[in-house]
Symmetry: C2
Subunit: 386 residues, 2 copies
Amino acid sequence: MFEEKTVLRIPGPTPVPPEVTRAMTHAMIGHRSGDFSSLLAEVEASLRDLFQTSGDVAVIAGTGTGGLEAAVYSMVHAGDRVLAISTGNFGDRFTEIARRTEADVISLNCEWGQPAKVEEVARILAEHSDIRVVLLTHCETSTGVLNNVQQIAHITQEYGAYLIVDAVSSFVGSPLPMDEWNVDVVVTGSQKALGLPPGLALVAMSSRAIERVKNGPAARSFYFDLKRYQKGLGDSTTPWTPPVSLIYGLRESLLMIQEEGLQQAQRRHRLLRDMTRAGIRAMGLSLVVNDEKSASDTVTTVFVPDADQVCKVMKNDLHIVVAGGQKQLSGKIIRIGHMGYVDASDMLQCLAALEIALVKTGYKMELGAGVRAAQEVYLHASNSRD
Amino acid sequence: MFEEKTVLRIPGPTPVPPEVTRAMTHAMIGHRSGDFSSLLAEVEASLRDLFQTSGDVAVIAGTGTGGLEAAVYSMVHAGDRVLAISTGNFGDRFTEIARRTEADVISLNCEWGQPAKVEEVARILAEHSDIRVVLLTHCETSTGVLNNVQQIAHITQEYGAYLIVDAVSSFVGSPLPMDEWNVDVVVTGSQKALGLPPGLALVAMSSRAIERVKNGPAARSFYFDLKRYQKGLGDSTTPWTPPVSLIYGLRESLLMIQEEGLQQAQRRHRLLRDMTRAGIRAMGLSLVVNDEKSASDTVTTVFVPDADQVCKVMKNDLHIVVAGGQKQLSGKIIRIGHMGYVDASDMLQCLAALEIALVKTGYKMELGAGVRAAQEVYLHASNSRD
């Protein structure tokens, strides 16, 4: 009975607000019509605000990985030297995409659970002054690490390189004012904090990035050539058939974020993170990311004895779905998503369900302790706000 | 942003499952078509199973109150003596409907928070052997009392009277096998444990009730004359235009209940009640209904200092809506609905949010204590099940 009621607390896809679901039921329209151009122009203007850029935002039928491919293939030219920073599974994927190009890729593989060290990035850039493009994951979804984009962007700019940031799971949840921080390309997907179904990649380009894309050779991919998307935006059109329904949904999602306010949305994500982390600590469990400064606003990762069984009990008995670990963390951790259409009550529910699953799988703890710690964080924030 | 996310924990309307919402988007069909007759026949068969009767179930465009009016106007004839038992606000409404007829109505008004005393009903029936119809509320939604239908039906039958039961807020949640218990008419509405939007009244008639309706005079109301609905069912049709979309939704809702199983649904409601009551007690609050035997399976009523403010904080800050008190209990209690599309995680969330609202409004308690007590009830039930 509750199959479809199951609450998604994985780090994406996230629950879709009913307003967005409804918007996506709009009757189909022709994608070369004036109606579609108006829709795209409206969405494009909101996206520029949200990415905090005066550049352009390509709206691509595809997912985050496709967006990363579009960014890399359009920004990296044959023979370029590229620094690919990886802090986990999604950093590795970013690196792999770069390796498909005819560029010379230098990998910086950081320890899982740790952010990229800014000094190390600086050292490599100093050593290889011909690095043209740097690839960095903002929130590493596999470990729950939030990398320091601002500082790395600062160094990258000093060395005259371009910075492409994978913000798939951090976008909206964590601050990333791309023009202010001198980030050249930011990539995200629809199924995270935007609260849409998967199927849309968004690739924001700074004016510097636009120049490079425009003046570069044809990209390795025809479909993912940002030149074509950027050119189309001049006429509020897309190079290939766009996913019309998702773009109706995106308009609604952007309106909802506007209504809440980006800063408030970020404060909310931070609060949910802090509630979750306090709850986890009070249960006597260990966080994968101990340093608050490097802890993701959108996903919390936790070492859990019998992690897979805990996930199973939470889903089957309590209808709450959290994610397990990936690769080397498989079976060792759970990952709790708190991004998008999620509020404080949701996290209290998730923590209460986790406590039950822990006790059911033999873990010794005081029931209610995690919930209480999260309630205290909530009340403290609420009292300072009032 | 979270306006539409707000979780309904009032005693109806209740959250509508997405399966039901989807079913209601079926294209409109003609209500005199074969397609509609098949739909109604299918629904009627499931409804007979759910009401546990070999009689008929009228499907009426209207709400629970309309269903009560249909039952009273069709079963009570001019000059009849009627016993109207009231244990609260909805019992009073039932009585008022009876007073619109040309019957002689005897009222039994019980203390709010207490169930009707079976001995007292027996005494009145013994005193007035000409009582033809008895009106009884199963779950009194204003106080959270569950009346003892089985025993009162037994006595009513002994005295040869008909029993009409308002099961609007108890249906599905609490056992009410109408043929087995000799209940003549059972009324419910769509917006409670059936998980549909408001707009449908269901009036089940035992074979004895069908005889009385068929052989009685035209009802006081043309629209609510059960004679017409009962006659229509022979041809799987309705006397007036039926609310087609709601009936598509009803079919889906009945399938979902069938899939879960009525007994399991009732066990679930009982568990949610027990979790809620344990949680409330652990918070140091007083329940309106202390005796477990008379406590509703679908709504829990609680004395709360500053009740209205608590409701407000829960809604505005935590996006959980519980109901306040009615009439003499207004401002003194909150009413927590746990009926229909609701699971254990939902109640943990509701209790955690209530704790925050209590502390925010100045109530002294140990945070997490209510959640813990509910978790313990859950684990205990879960361990005995495994």
